[in-house]
Symmetry: C2
Subunit: 284 residues, 2 copies
Amino acid sequence: MEWINKSRILIVGLGLMGGSYAMALKRIGYHVDAVDKDEGAIRYALDKGIIDEGAVSPSKELIGSADTVIFALYPGLIIPWIKDNQKFFKPGITITDVTGIKNNIVYKIQDILRKDVEFIAAHPMAGREISGVTGADGSIFRDANYIVVPTERNTDRAIKWCSDLGGILGCRKVSVLTPQEHDRMIAYVSQLTHCIAVALMTCNDNEKLVDYTGDSFRDLTRIARINEDMWSELFLMNKKELLHEMDAFLDELKTIREYIDKEDTDALKDKMRLSTKRRERFNR
Amino acid sequence: MEWINKSRILIVGLGLMGGSYAMALKRIGYHVDAVDKDEGAIRYALDKGIIDEGAVSPSKELIGSADTVIFALYPGLIIPWIKDNQKFFKPGITITDVTGIKNNIVYKIQDILRKDVEFIAAHPMAGREISGVTGADGSIFRDANYIVVPTERNTDRAIKWCSDLGGILGCRKVSVLTPQEHDRMIAYVSQLTHCIAVALMTCNDNEKLVDYTGDSFRDLTRIARINEDMWSELFLMNKKELLHEMDAFLDELKTIREYIDKEDTDALKDKMRLSTKRRERFNR
C-alpha cells in the first residue's frame, strides 16, 4: 500500500473525529500532527500523546511537511481553510476529509484546489454522542463502515489510496459511492435517525421517566445528545435529501397510526413482519 | 421477605418472559413449574433445567401446588385462563403478571377473581427482540426498572410482596404506578418507540444499506424485529394513550422538519440543546 511509505499526516480540526483519526494512525506508527484553533485541544492531545506536534494556527512548516492532510473540520470551514493555506501544501499530495455530507462541498473543494493536489472525499460511519478531542477514541473505526466518495475528477490511484486508509483505520467494510448516492443514503440512515431521536426526546416532558424506561427508549435516544452546531450545519447542507426522507418517514408513521386507529390488525402485522424481515439483514 | 418462605412458583405461558422469570427464580432456589400449550417449549425448558416440572394443559395438581402464579401470557389470554382454572388455586395466594399494558386488563382480572386470591399487576421493563423460551435469559432483569401497578383494591401486603419480587429478580429500581399512569408512560417510552422503529425500517427500501450504516441506524431499529401478534395486541389495548403519544411525536417531528425547511438554525439548535439536556438524565 502506498500509505506505508507516507510518514507524516496532518489532521486539520482536532475534535472527536480528528482526535480519533490521530489515535488510530499514531498507534500503527504514523507521525501525526494537528492544527486546531483551540489551544486546549492541542495541549491535551500533546499531553496524552495523541499527536506528535500541534499548532493553533496553520504554519508553512507544519503544513509543508505533511505527506497528506485529513480535514476533520465542521463542513463550512474546510473551503476557507484550503483557500488560505493551500499554498503551503507539499507538491502532488493527496488529501481527504471525514465530513458527513458530500454533494455540497466536494465539487467546490475540487474547483478551488491547486491542480497538483488531489482531494478524495471519505466518510467513516463511526462517531460518539460526545464531542471534542477529550472523547477521541482510536477504536471507533473497528468494524465500522467506511465510504469513499469520488467524483469523476478523481483518479483510480486516489480512490485506492483512500480505500486503503479505511482499512488502515480498522474499518470492516469499505464502499465507494457517488456524492449524490452518499447524501441520499446519509439522509436516511444518519440524519433522519438524529431528527427522530431529538423529536422523541423533546415531544414529551419526560423528566420523571428515567425510573421507568427500558432499553428501547435508551437505544432510540442515545443520539439525542447531539452537537447542535455541527448537526444543524449538516442538516441544512443536505436539506433536500433530508426533507425527502423525513416526509417518507412521517407518511409511514401516519399510516401505522391509521392502522392502529382503525384497529386494522392485519395491516399492522404486515408492517411488523416487513420490518422484522428487513431488520434481520442488519444483524451482526 | 415473605417470598423466602414461598417455595413453589407456577409460570403460566413459557415464552421469552416466562422462561426468563423461571431462570432468574430457579437460580436463587425456587421450585419453578410452568404450563404452556406448546409441548416443544415445555420439553426444551425441562431439558435445559429452566423449570422443575411442566405441563401442556393446566391440571389441578400443578396449579393446586403453587404458592404463587405468574402470568406471562399474551394479554388477551389471561382472563379466559383464570376463568377456567382459578378453581384449582391454593386458597389465599397472591398472583401477578408481566403484561405490558394494565388499564385494560387489571380491573377485569380483579373483577372475576376468587375473593380469597389477590392479583397484583407488575411490569418488568426488560425484554429481548426475540420471542420464545429458547431466547429466555434470567439476567435480563439485572439493572432493569420494575413497575408494580396496584389498584385501590390491592393490599399493602401484596404491593410489598410484588415489590420484593422485582428485587429478587435483580431489578435496579422498583416503582409503583397506577394503571393509568403506567399505560400513559408505556405508550411513550415503549409503544411509541416500537412504532417509530417499525416505520423507520419500512419507510425506505433499504436492502443495500447494510454496508453503509453506522450504529445510529442499528440502535434505532433494533426493536424493529418485533413479535407482531403480541405487539399488535398491546397497541390496540392501549390505543387511546398510544395515539396521543404518536400525535405528539408526529407534531414535534413536523416542527423540526419546518425548521429545516425554513433554515431556522436558531430554533433547530434550541431543540437539539433541549434534547441533549434531557438525554443526560437517562445516562447510566
